[in-house]
Symmetry: C2
């Protein structure tokens, strides 16, 4: 039903550790899955020309520069990188050649390019990066995941307002429950920054329910958890790092006690299904606050994740989110 | 060898969710395990008298007040709680009736009482709370775990110096590798507070190796990871919460695919041994910065954890730690 609307996503062919091969594979998966999805692919001629010739839903846009993951993200907005795939893909969104931008490249570079080229909403002071973490009850949005290491209470209020519009328009959650990441659930807990923020959110943020502790990011108590980008990043990496380490410890621990081949196979399948359940299916993180859809995949994305990210971009482009944000935060 | 030195630990009978029964059981385990360990037990007469009569290594000290976990921790230093078990046990350390204080009660209350009664070292601005998190290579000390939500860079320098003395004198690590919790390992990463702290630690902290990310708290890259109490608490709870949720998800996921009773038993044993491996064996957290040994158990401690905490207190009291800290930070 939703997929009936034609949508064009601008994709950076050079984003991620496994680019461009993996990106091309992901693009193919995505356009095959969604009949009304088209891709404007941005990348080096040698890397993308023959792929685009073979796929009539993918249009080639040749660029001459590549910003590597190891490059300083801020370089992306310098003149020497004007013809790189990230910049040109953002320009395609700005010029309405595409309705969304997807890259699995450097988060910092994508956010910087999008902020400069697609531009912030008039009343948004800082864009933020959100992601949905799986919980037993569905998923919880964490905002900000790392775009803004230093924040004001007002920044967090805006992150909450934007994440709330995302939850309503993309996740179908009408009255999202919003928490503030702190070191205790009681109102009196926090550092001086979160105490000041808590007071502002109580006064001004619809759906604000008070402090959240780290485990609440994954236990389904809240639809949205707010944090400055420094603490959000610390919590996110702690959750991801612990999951990864535990899965590997459990696998080796179980393998050594269950020696039979059937047992090993059952465990493998069981852990695999759990891993699927625990990983997000939006294929990356979302930049909120710029006047267009921007989705940024993990650097280690596989073809399936790239495809998920492009399909998420298309879903967002077909939604009313950017219009609603325009109404709320003003066109520039 | 180490255990040959007689040591007395002051124990709060009313600390923790399962007090006093669980504390008494833990005390019994500890004194049975360590022939030269004696306990001064502080608590309500009805709760501890008969237990102490039956255990000749445990001396009863009757108190009339109990600070509940739900009480404001700051109440502990008010006159109305002067005769509570936490305060009286701290006084026993101050008066040399005991060489260490153990409680599984409110962390905030224990830290407040110890700071006021046992008192800080002359040159320590703020005590901190540390704990050791298990890693595949041993364990990593996290400081501060939550005592100080707002910190100065100088506070973190002192936490690093104190944790380093702990690692050397208690864990036998001669040159501990110290990291600063941040949102990226590169020197340039961080918020304004951690950037300023990073510069100070580079200049003044022996063994400082730069920024650490959350997963480094559990992967063995560092012996000590420093954070303000707010971020340290967020990282700690994210790690603990994720472990807990994953263990329970894995258990149910495996149980449903492996229906046979033998399979279920093997899984149970395997997860149990993993859980043991993943949990600390110091029985709680340690308050560093006051002129005496203070160990604070988890609120949900079982008898085994209480016993571990008391044995850790004894180990610390027998070590040279407090003398070394006196030399470094000055008696008051």
């Amino acid at each position: 039903m939703e997929n009936s609307k034609k949508v064009v996503v601008a994709v950076d062919a050079h984003g991620g550790d496994n680019a461009p091969a993996c990106v091309l594979e992901g693009v193919k998966l995505a356009v095959n899955k969604d009949p009304n999805l088209y891709v404007e692919l941005f990348g080096d001629k040698d890397a993308i020309e023959s792929f685009c010739t073979q796929n009539d839903k993918v249009n080639a846009n040749f660029t001459t520069k590549i910003l590597k993951m190891s490059d300083d993200p801020e370089l992306v907005i310098k003149r020497q990188f004007a013809d790189c795939s990230i910049v040109q893909a953002c320009k395609a969104v700005k010029n309405n050649q595409a309705q969304a931008f997807f890259s699995a490249g450097s988060t910092g570079a994508c956010a910087a390019a999008a902020s400069v080229i697609i531009r912030r909403f008039a009343n948004i002071k800082r864009p933020c990066i959100i992601s949905a973490l799986p919980s037993p009850k569905g998923s919880t949005i964490l905002a900000d995941m790392g775009a803004n290491p230093d924040c004001s209470p007002e920044n967090l209020l805006q992150f909450g307002q934007m994440a709330s519009l995302y939850a309503q328009n993309i996740c179908g959650i009408q009255n999202p429950k919003i928490g503030l990441l702190s070191n205790g659930e009681e109102d009196c807990k926090g550092n001086s920054f979160t105490k000041e923020t808590h007071a502002l959110l109580c006064e001004k943020l619809d759906g604000f329910k008070g402090n959240a502790e780290s485990p609440n990011i994954i236990d389904g108590s809240f639809d949205i958890v707010l944090a400055d980008g420094f603490c959000g990043n610390i919590a996110l990496k702690a959750i991801e790092g612990t999951s990864k380490m535990l899965m590997s410890e459990i696998k080796s621990s179980l393998m050594s006690s269950l020696k039979s081949k059937i047992g090993a196979l059952l465990i493998k399948n069981s852990l695999y299904s759990l891993k699927e359940k625990m990983s997000d299916d939006i294929g990356g993180a979302i930049l909120l606050g710029v006047q267009g859809v921007v989705v940024i995949g993990h650097g280690n994305s596989k073809a399936k994740n790239i495809s998920d990210g492009i399909l998420t971009s298309a879903k967002m482009a077909r939604s009313n989110l950017i219009n609603k944000m325009n109404e709320e935060f003003g066109k520039r």
